[in-house]
Amino acid sequence: MRLEIGNFPVEDIVFGEETSYNDGLLTINKEEALEVVKEDEHITEADLVIARPGEEKRIVPVKEAIEPRYRLNGDATFPGVTGKVESVGEGRTVALKGCSVLAVGKHWGSFGDGLIDMSGEGAKYTYFSKLVNVCLVADTDEEFEREEQQKKNHAIRWAAHRLAEYLGETVKDLELKEEEVLELEPITKRSQDVNDLPSVVYVMQPQSQMEELGYNDLVYGWDANRMLPTLMHPNEVLDGAIISGSFMPCSSKWSTYDFQNCPTIKRLYAEHGKTINFLGVIMSNLNVAMDQKERAAMFVQQIAKSLGADAAILAEEGYGNPDADFIACFAALEDAGVKTVGMTNECTGRDGQSQPLVTLDERADAIVSCGNVSTLIKLPPMETVIGELEALARDGLSGGWADDEKLGPSVKEDGSIIMENNSMFCGDQVLGWSPKTMKEF
């Protein structure tokens, strides 16, 4: 399978007459873009705001991030979400690099939403402070979940995907300057040289622990709660087949942008044919009941065995209960002789003294650790807030609180904040960017 991604670097984004791209400058006709957003009548209010690296801006509640893309054959960029279910990962896609579309609640936040500071001390906690962000700040008429801590955030998330596709389309006819080719030969058709290298699978456990549909990560538009582990081509993951959900504490979350740019897949590609034989992705999931966890681990083990994998990298989107899925899968792979390295974050508490994962196993002897969800973070006020700052304290975000006996509310009168890392937008970057690790103090 061969995927060609035409990369168009974006250095700045401005509003103007015509939505266009010229030498690193993306211009957006705001009115036209908002029409795309408002194709869904459930969007009641919407605006676009630009947030650039280094600006004194705080964005909250952020629900999703997407890299603007367009499939040149005209198929849906996000199959099952912005259009029909058609396969991706093959052919040509164009991408606006260095920028993202952020889905931001105009008022209302939910458990899985996060915060981004574009400058200052807070900027280091999230990858998205480094990008030029088009913030879609919107409200909806989804009254059924207005007061709920868990929100599907359907209208605004889907609107952000449409907007990302609309922006991506801007460069569909432009001459390519930089192209990334992602190609893996079929597993049984590889040269002896490649076959002789240690074969590696990448096992992904995207978040799917809500039994009710509408909150979980989607695979080609299909709720990952309703699937069993399956083999996928890494290009599908990079090309919009997986859509992020609206459920997990935010620092553990994998946004759609993260899937589209998954650094671990990119690195496995870079090693393919040199040090390893990259077999592909086993797309697993995360479950609630023990038998579901065991069944998924069993399927992952079976697929890895059937493929003859020598080694695996295993990553979980979450912490706490999903640690059981992570460890079960780790143990199952090791039992099958598949040498495994796990990637996860930890929950050691504000004092660092809690058990790092809810379950441990001596077979999980190689782990890359990406951060502590419960680290307490204090940040000064920012000049501008995009969205609504009060949401951090009021709406049950995983790392915010309305009041605390010792710490007071998360949001102070002067606009400064105190929060847990839990609500840093996609902060722990378990898909591979994380520059953080965990150490003993």
């Binding site: 990119k266 990298i313 040498k339 990637m343 150490k439």
Partner: protein, 350 residues
């Protein structure tokens, strides 16, 4: 200039060895014994030396701690040192006990050093900084240098003070840090994977503690012939706690006769109570059988479902008790049980 105070035992104070181990706690202004070395190495001025006999601390812990905290009440100090204690078990315990108490009472950093074989390491490494030290006083200079160096870093606000870089025993306190080279997780994972695949040594970023598993015993073939003992980590003891079992982080245990008793008379009756500090004692004090179910076992004995109830029940306190101490106490209990023909044990927790 910042100020430091150090705790040492009677031996290092030059008072005497075993014969002086009951020496009462005292505080002396200025430098005694190893305090002089610390004063040379530390950026802080060592103002006072606290001295206590190892036995005194071991047998009169509460009194010793109270006295020493009293000495410190009107002192100004920014940091506290204890030891080094080398392989001396009682000295290690004393350094840990007093270090923990000082940290809790005055919220200052506390630094000690002990040999890895010293039981004080496992008991207190979570509470205070403990460096792996030498076996004997021949290593005094090296061990004190490590203690002083960490102290200097803390006093000068340097950091982050990770166990890996500084060398103290890990304390089970894990925090996130940004790697100096910012190496992304994906690169770290691939490097680890290649090492693992190639059989090279690799270092997990989340080391999993080794679990000391005990195989499950064979079932008793005929319970009606078996002698069953009761054991608990729930802290049930005679009301005067004759063996002075600690209420938390226990190192001592006891066994008490149940001969002739149908159940355990309670605290009000002046017989049994719990000294466990980790749960609400009301129910256990009102009826100790809720923790040590002698009444139920007697009923089984009466019905002939078990042969007989063993003459003693065995008890200690589980809260805060280290695995190493728990294993030692368990092994000691088992010796008695084996000698006296116990076939099985019911172990109750809380």
């Amino acid at each position: 200039m910042k100020k430091a105070i150090i705790y040492i035992n009677q031996f290092f104070a030059g008072i005497g060895g075993e014969e002086e181990a009951d020496h009462q706690p005292e505080i002396r202004e200025g430098l005694v014994g190893p305090a002089m070395l610390l004063n040379q190495l530390s950026d802080a001025e060592v103002t006072d030396t606290i001295i206590c006999g190892d036995n005194f601390m071991g047998s009169n812990e509460e009194e010793a701690v109270e006295k020493i905290l009293g000495f410190l009440e009107d002192k100004e100090f920014d940091i506290f040192f204890a030891g080094p204690a080398f392989q001396a078990g009682r000295y290690g315990n004393a350094c840990g006990v007093i270090g923990k108490a000082v940290k809790e009472a005055f919220d200052v950093p506390v630094i000690s050093s002990m040999n890895e074989e010293n039981p004080g390491v496992d008991m207190f490494k979570k509470d205070i900084y403990i460096f792996p030290g030498g076996k004997s006083a021949a290593k005094m200079k090296d061990d004190m240098a490590k203690m002083a160096e960490l102290g200097n870093k803390i006093l000068n606000g340097e950091g982050p003070l990770t166990a890996e870089e500084e060398g103290f025993f890990t304390r089970g306190i894990r925090h996130q840090v940004w790697l100096e080279d910012s190496k992304p997780a994906a690169d770290r994972a691939i490097e680890m994977l290649l090492k693992k695949v190639n059989g090279e040594e690799f270092k997990s970023e989340l080391p999993i503690p080794k679990i000391d598993r005990v195989p499950i015993a064979e079932p008793i073939k005929d319970l009606s012939e078996a002698t069953i003992a009761l054991a608990t980590s729930g802290g049930i003891v005679p009301v005067d706690n004759p063996d002075k079992i600690q209420s938390a982080s226990a190192t001592r245990w006891g066994r008490y006769s149940v001969e002739g008793l149908d159940n355990l008379p309670n605290r009000e009756a002046g017989e049994f109570k719990t000294i466990h500090a980790g749960y609400d004692p009301a129910a256990a004090d009102a009826n100790p059988d809720r923790v040590v179910p002698l009444d139920a076992l007697r009923a089984y004995e009466e019905e002939g479902r078990i042969g007989k109830v063993h003459e003693y029940f065995y008890t200690t306190v589980g809260t805060g008790t280290t695995e190493a101490e728990a294993a030692r106490m368990g092994q000691e209990m088992v010796e008695y049980m084996k000698d006296e023909g116990v076939d099985a044990v019911i172990l109750t927790s809380t």
